[in-house]
């Protein structure tokens, strides 16, 4: 719970073009990406976005295809907001926040055809590769969407399909064909701030996450919180996301 005084302070700063940690409105916190951190996973990454830390792991196993896509592999994304990461997280079944996070990250990966799922078919109609993306939040200091999306894409670039273990041939590197990067901004008063810290998120009126691929095309979007955006604001956010996304993409590749 944030005090009225701190809330007023953040709003005052925003109205004055400033932020608590001295960043510019369109500036991200420091990003640190470490691949291959979980050796029992087929691919993994730990991402630090400022003080927010997320670990994403990829596990793969053969399974049944969906009835309407008999020749494609399956992607299933889950997120855990474990109580270790914040006093606000409780043990138990996934909260609406955890489910939204998983679905937004999933959409970014799926819609941009990051992985060609047709290449993950083993026997049409019977057996395909199931790709499990597990987002494990370890330290929550704002902007889980971007930290998790960066982690997910990076973990995929680190993934080796474990064909050998299941007697389906030689292990092979998972081919990543597209690189969607998500950028999240929040609105405080009339100010738009990129990569919100925890305090900024708590005070924000509205939030927008935009996922853009390497060609500059939009692949996924999600608006959150109970405030509103004008169309101009949304266009401006898309623009910032494109520019900043390019820089982040270089870090992941």
């Amino acid at each position: 719970m944030i005090s009225g005084i701190t809330k007023d302070y953040i709003c005052r700063l925003a109205a004055d073009g400033k932020r608590m940690d001295g960043r510019k409105f369109d500036e991200c916190r420091e990003i640190k990406i470490e691949k291959g951190v979980a050796k029992n996973a087929e691919g993994s990454t730990q991402v630090r976005l400022g003080d927010t830390t997320v670990m994403v792991g990829v596990k793969m196993a053969p399974g049944e295809p969906y009835p309407d896509t008999q020749d494609s592999g399956v992607l299933t994304t889950a997120a855990e907001l474990i109580p270790l990461a914040s006093p606000a997280f409780e043990s138990g079944p996934p909260s609406p926040e955890a489910i939204e996070l998983a679905r937004v990250v999933d959409r970014g990966i799926r819609e941009s055809k990051t992985v060609d799922f047709k290449k993950l078919c083993i026997t049409q109609g019977e057996k395909v590769w199931v790709l499990f993306l597990d987002i494990h939040v370890l330290d929550y200091d704002g902007n889980l969407f971007d930290a998790s999306s960066i982690g997910a894409l990076s973990a995929l670039t680190d993934t080796v399909v474990p064909a050998n273990r299941f007697e389906l041939g030689e292990d092979f590197k998972l081919e990543v064909e597209h690189y969607p990067v998500s950028c999240t901004s929040v609105k405080i008063g009339n100010a738009i701030l990129l990569d919100p810290s925890l305090d900024e998120e708590t005070v924000a009126d509205a939030r927008l996450t935009v996922s853009i691929d390497e060609n500059g095309d939009i692949r996924a979007m999600q608006k959150g919180l109970n405030g509103s955006f004008t169309l101009d604001e949304i266009k401006s956010i898309i623009n910032i996301s494109k520019i900043k996304g390019d820089r982040i993409r270089e870090l992941i590749k």
């Binding site: 792991g57 474990i82 200091d141």
Partner: protein, 234 residues
């Protein structure tokens, strides 16, 4: 039958009473009141402490002291065969015995109605995760400034090809004849956690416990070092 001991050495080249490589770092998380990260052989675990804080729901509050609630959890990607979200029976049991071990050392009487929540997250598993988790949890408690009688130091001993060996690796755990995790309070050598499964003669048990307790003392030195590193010599 695979030979687990060859020419006086184990399959990973270790001697019978040799520990795997261990690394402990205290104070690694921003939000938690105390935390520790530990690498033990191929194990990677993160421990965090929140507390003392108000125990919720109200009905679990104890009016005379704090309760210690430990939650041991394995990340989905921490093991070879992906683990489903949520506590399974094994995690619930481990959580219970860890809570009991830690409750013995914490001065809970100082915090009536409160809860000291300890979270252990296994990120990579390689046999001995409960010992790794409990050892890290003890450091996290110290890091959180929780008043305690002492640290809790933990290690496992086993029997493999008829030999008593220290700190089982994954294969040794799967194919061995006995597994004995223990945890002690280093100053008094009191035993706070003890489990055993397999087959040991009384003599073998005595040898195993002896080996285990000595190893716990070694691990205790590493726990202290991890805390001292927070404030390097000034």
């Amino acid at each position: 039958m695979e030979q687990l001991i060859k020419d006086g050495r184990r399959i990973d080249g270790r001697k019978f009473d040799e520990l795997r490589q261990i690394r402990i770092e205290a104070g690694v998380l921003k939000r938690a009141d105390g935390s520790a990260y530990m690498e033990w052989g191929g194990n990677k675990a993160l421990a965090a402490v929140y507390g003392p804080r108000e125990a919720r729901p109200r009905h679990i509050q104890n009016p005379t002291r704090a309760i210690v609630q430990c939650r041991y959890n394995m990340a989905a990607f921490s093991v070879s065969d992906r683990k489903r979200q949520g506590p399974d029976r094994r995690s619930v049991e481990i959580s219970k015995i860890m809570s009991e071990a830690l409750e013995h050392v914490v001065f809970t009487e100082q915090f009536p109605r409160a809860s000291i929540d300890v979270y252990i997250e296994v990120l990579q598993a390689d046999a001995g995760t409960r010992c790794t988790g409990l050892t890290a949890a003890s450091v996290a408690l110290a890091d959180a400034g929780i008043p305690m009688r002492d640290f809790v130091s933990s290690c496992a001993v086993g029997k493999v090809d008829g030999q008593i060996v220290l700190d089982l690796g994954k294969q040794e755990d799967n194919l061995g004849d006995a597994d004995l995790p223990i945890a002690i309070m280093p100053r008094t050598k009191e035993i706070l956690l003890l489990q055993m499964d397999g087959h040991l003669t009384i003599e073998e048990f005595n040898k195993a416990v002896d080996m285990g307790m000595n190893a716990c003392m070694e691990i205790y030195e590493m726990q202290k070092e991890a805390m001292r590193k927070k404030y390097p010599g000034d």
